[in-house]
């Protein structure tokens, strides 16, 4: 039940912000500070999420095979690999390190 509540709140919230952008008269969100903050918020969230999902197990900080996988994804990104290849390299390297007992 809790999960359905989370799904419902997220679905309504995410649709509302998408629609708001299309309906809001241009200018309302055009203040430089608001635009700057809107560009920076995803940076902060994505950085924190990437770090947490790479280095955490529940509430503990851990260093395991995922770190190697995400490092491989970072290398793929630097080499300008396509999106799918970036994700695939993380998965393959993580599985590989685990198979080797890492």
């Amino acid at each position: 039940m809790n999960i359905w509540i989370a799904i419902g709140v997220t679905a309504v919230g995410c649709y509302a912000v998408k629609l708001a952008g299309l309906l809001v008269p241009a200018g309302a969100l055009e203040r430089p500070v608001v635009r700057r903050l809107a560009a920076l918020l995803p940076v902060a969230l994505l950085a924190a999420l990437t770090a947490q999902q790479t280095f955490s197990d529940g509430q503990a900080l851990v260093l395991d095979a995922r770190a190697a996988g995400v490092a491989a994804a970072a290398v793929a990104l630097v080499l300008r690999a396509p999106f799918l290849l970036v994700v695939a390299s993380a998965v393959v390297v993580t599985a590989g390190v685990r198979a080797l007992g890492g």
Binding site: A6, T10, K18, G21, V43, L49, T50
Partner: protein, 238 residues
């Protein structure tokens, strides 16, 4: 932003749009596996892709739920990640000039990928074609591969052994990387990582990410003060 010539041929726009739609659409498989592996049912997993349809928010939600976060902190994190779509919508509504009646239907497709493809087109016609082709191909494929991934998660068994728990952070990293060109963005990202990891052991699940989001206003404020005292322009990055 004119409808006259000088733009790319329609075929080239369609090819670009399909390229993005298919590549990202296929990664719905990773979401399906991750979501099912996090304990969500098939119906819940598919409902997320059909109704939320913004990948980073979906990964964030299942990640937070799997970590034991409350439904509201989990949804709050997913929602804040979705807020950027409002700003895409603002740009797209000028660019596409959609009739009011169409907007509620177009809204669900206002995401990173459709915005990226549409904004890259030099003409309104190109932008509209790019938006529709990217939106349609990505929506269909994302939902289909979510279903297959959720079904496959059972067959695969221990998804960790297959390294699929690394797919979520890799997706986040791929979305984040193009945003890290300027110094301010890198400072925000660095501070957010410190806050997110540092607070993880001491705050309830889901909350550290929300606190880490404060890195954005904090860095903006600090840079605004710094540049004001030095007397340079506030946008002087690097």
């Amino acid at each position: 932003m004119r409808d006259d010539g000088g733009g790319k041929p329609d075929g080239a726009v369609v090819r670009d749009a399909l390229g993005v739609g298919i590549a990202v659409g296929l990664s719905g498989f990773a979401f399906g596996v991750t979501s099912a592996g996090s304990g969500l049912t098939l119906l819940q997993t598919c409902a997320l892709s059909l109704l939320v349809f913004t990948g980073a928010s979906q990964f964030a939600l299942v990640g937070a739920l799997a970590a034991g976060g409350s439904p509201f902190t989990a949804a709050a994190g997913a929602f804040f990640l979705g807020v950027r779509n409002a700003f895409y919508g603002l740009r797209l509504s000028q660019l596409l000039a959609l009739p009011r009646a169409v907007r509620p239907f177009a809204a669900q497709w206002v995401i990173d990928e459709t915005a990226a493809v549409s904004l890259a087109q030099p003409t309104r016609r190109g932008a509209r074609i790019g938006f529709v082709v990217t939106g349609l191909s990505l929506y269909l494929l994302w939902n289909l591969t979510t279903l297959l991934g959720a079904l496959g998660a059972e067959a695969i068994g221990d998804t960790d052994a297959w390294g699929l728990d690394a797919a979520g952070p890799a997706v986040f990293l791929a979305l984040l990387a193009p945003m890290l060109r300027a110094g301010t963005e890198r400072t925000v990202a660095g501070l957010a990582v410190l806050l997110g990891l540092g607070l993880l052991p001491v705050l309830p699940a889901g909350v550290p990410v929300l606190v880490a989001a404060l890195a954005a206003p904090a860095v903006l404020w600090a840079r605004g003060r710094g540049s004001a005292s030095r007397g340079d322009a506030p946008e002087g990055d690097r």
